[in-house]
């Protein structure tokens, strides 16, 4: 049964190979690729149900690759947090690959589109599952290799420029990451996350001095923030998101961004939180790496919300607006993470739940919006808000799906976004209640400003593109029925998450518990107590 832990990785890599093997028959390749996406989603569902959520599931499971015992081999761990992120990846991935098949030009699909797509999925899956810090680096690279090609996919001057910028930035990021991981290895003597958590919690027993860990983790924080597109590392986001094929952008915004957030949560809450190190950052003193994370991440999150919101208001294309909006929304995800780092006990738990629910909502809603933007550009040939108008009369179904997306982004009940926003504000107010001061107040006010900006730019795209008189580009345009089917399905998921929120909430709670319960994580990887500590 523990094979189920590695099964999503195997399915994704099999997807890469299969897509290569049938590349001579384009029709077969498209069918295979979509089918592999479905099999992947099914595998993830089975693994999550049998190992984490089901009535007689163990709650978490580890898999030692090649049978080498931890901490010597590479360990894959499927716990609540990984499971939550994998489910998000599976839903968005399936929607995105199905949409690709009917959206991307046939000839372009033949240029390694499908192998690369599954390669992207493979990197994401590995990053969510791995329990080894160096292996995390490897999966990041797998993910990046595929995204480099996708950003440069259409091969124009604009695409090449964006790809070069993206490449240089991420190569620098990878170098920093390697440096950070190497440093952590030198300090703790292990790369296995569970082993590292165990050693840091009791440094005297393993004879290590944990003091450098905070600085080294800061290097990794920079890299993860770069992946997540947080201010001040957000500048690659708009160019990359507007040049990649739009279904892939849905994947980049919906899933690979969350890998950065996931890595921050996993590293700080699961691995480093147990270390007792005196820290003094920005005038806030504390005794664990989390007290370093809290002020830094809060500042980044607040800046992202403001920059993303303002940027989105001033864009003139749909995907430009949503690219900046992604920057802002990731701010909404990391602010509760920062609050979780600043607080303890129940508030930490609720704050992480808020971050996870918001991440889920953003993945679903934003991929729905990027795919809608793809459908709009496919039908009308343009994505400039100014040139599109009156689409609601032309295709009420497309308008409906888009409307669900933006309403969820704004946060109206009963959609997924309502609970995301609700929890984030709830947590922010509770933080102010437990620790009154200017910092929680400033965070709350910026969340409020971000929410208002969201209303402004979503309203702008909605009234611009869907209301009013039909523009020349819209007249006579036909929206592809199969694309609509994918959009409607995704919109239905957004509604379903909001309406049937209770199980989702319990899943997020399981995930948040898994992130903070270091003991359980170590227990899963070293069932016999490890001995070799």
């Amino acid at each position: 049964m523990s094979f189920l832990v590695v099964a999503p990785v195997v399915v994704a890599i099999a997807g890469v190979v299969l897509a290569f093997l049938v590349s001579r028959w384009p029709r077969v390749q498209r069918a295979t690729s979509a089918a592999t996406g479905a099999v992947y989603a099914g595998t993830v569902a089975t693994a999550v149900w049998r190992l984490v959520l089901g009535p007689d599931a163990p709650g978490a499971a580890a898999y030692q690759l090649g049978g080498h015992p931890a901490p010597f081999g590479i360990t894959l761990v499927l716990d609540g947090l990984s499971a939550f992120m994998l489910v998000v990846a599976a839903v968005v991935g399936l929607a995105s690959i199905t949409f690709s098949v009917v959206f991307v030009e046939r000839d372009n699909q033949r240029v390694y589109y499908h192998p690369l797509f599954h390669c992207l999925l493979l990197g994401v899956t590995g990053a969510f599952l791995t329990g080894d810090l160096f292996n995390l680096f490897v999966w990041f690279e797998v993910m990046l290799m595929a995204s480099y090609v996708f950003v440069a996919f259409y091969g124009g001057a604009r695409h090449t420029a964006a790809a070069v910028r993206y490449l240089v930035l991420n190569v620098v990021g990878s170098a920093l990451m390697l440096l950070g991981i190497g440093g952590l290895y030198a300090v703790t003597g292990t790369l296995n996350m569970a082993d590292m958590a165990r050693r840091l919690a009791d440094p005297a027993a393993s004879g290590i001095d944990p003091a450098p860990v905070v600085g080294l983790s800061a290097l990794l924080l920079v890299v993860f923030a770069l992946k997540a597109g947080l201010v001040p590392f957000q500048f690659w986001v708009p160019a990359a998101y507007t040049t990649a094929p739009l279904p892939v952008t849905a994947m980049l915004a919906g899933v690979t961004k969350k890998v950065g957030v996931y890595a921050i949560v996993r590293l700080y809450f699961t691995v480093l939180a147990g270390a007792a190190i005196p820290v003094d950052v920005l005038g806030v003193a504390g005794d664990s790496p989390l007290s370093f994370l809290a002020p830094v991440l809060a500042a980044m999150g607040v800046a992202s919300i403001v920059v993303g919101g303002l940027g989105a208001v001033s864009r003139d294309t749909l995907e430009g607006t949503f690219a900046y909006s992604s920057v802002g929304q990731v701010g909404f995800i990391v602010v509760p993470v920062a609050i979780a780092a600043a607080s303890t006990g129940q508030l930490r738990q609720i704050a992480l739940v808020a971050a996870l629910v918001y991440a889920l909502h953003h993945s679903l809603a934003k991929s729905l919006l990027f795919l809608s933007a793809a459908a709009v550009s496919d039908a009308t040939g343009t994505n400039r808000v100014r040139d599109v108008g009156g689409l609601a009369g032309r295709s009420p179904v497309l308008a409906g799906a888009f409307f669900v997306g933006i309403l969820s982004l704004v946060g109206l009940p009963p959609l997924a976004g309502f609970f995301g926003k609700f929890f984030v504000f709830d947590v922010s107010i509770r933080w102010y209640a437990t620790a009154p001061g200017w910092a929680p107040l400033a965070v709350f006010l910026s969340l409020l400003a971000g929410a208002l900006l969201t209303i402004v730019y979503t309203t702008r795209t909605w009234t611009g593109c869907f209301w009013g008189a039909e523009t020349p580009a819209v007249e006579g345009s036909v929206v592809d029925g199969r694309q609509l089917a994918v959009l409607v399905a995704l919109a239905a998921v957004v509604v379903a998450v909001g309406v049937g929120f209770d199980p989702v909430y319990r899943f997020a709670e399981t995930a948040a518990t898994a992130a903070t319960e270091r003991g359980d994580y170590v227990e899963v990887v070293f069932p016999d107590g490890g001995g070799a500590a």
Binding site: V6, L21, G66, G67
Partner: protein, 149 residues
Amino acid sequence: MKTTARIAVPIILVLAVSLFFQGHNLPGGGFIGGVLTTTAFVLVYVAYGLDYLEAGVLDREVDPGTGIFEHRSVTAYRRTFVLGLTIVVGSGLAGLLLGGSFLAQDYVILHDVPIYHEVELASALVFDLGVYLVVVGGLLTILSVVGAE
């Protein structure tokens, strides 16, 4: 240049193969063997030109009109790459089917083999062969396409 290539290429290839075979328990392996093999090919390309392998070694006609992507060597390299990837995944799955875990490896030592006396056969070699083919296929595809421009 051609003289150097004539001497160096066989040496490089032998070294590559020896590195490949000792890879599972000594420094070496599929990746480094593959890179070395690629350098041998590149040396041939630099000295004799892109069509030499087809026209000079395999004695086939080369149609100069087609683009580099349809060049017969490049097609072959791409197939090598895919074959290698298949072997890698297949060898990982084989460990699983034979009752171990994904990517599990095993080895047998054969005794009384003529000349060598003892030969160690490791299943890791299959995985390494896959890596080798991926590296050779991938690198040569890139190099010949970029080289042709």
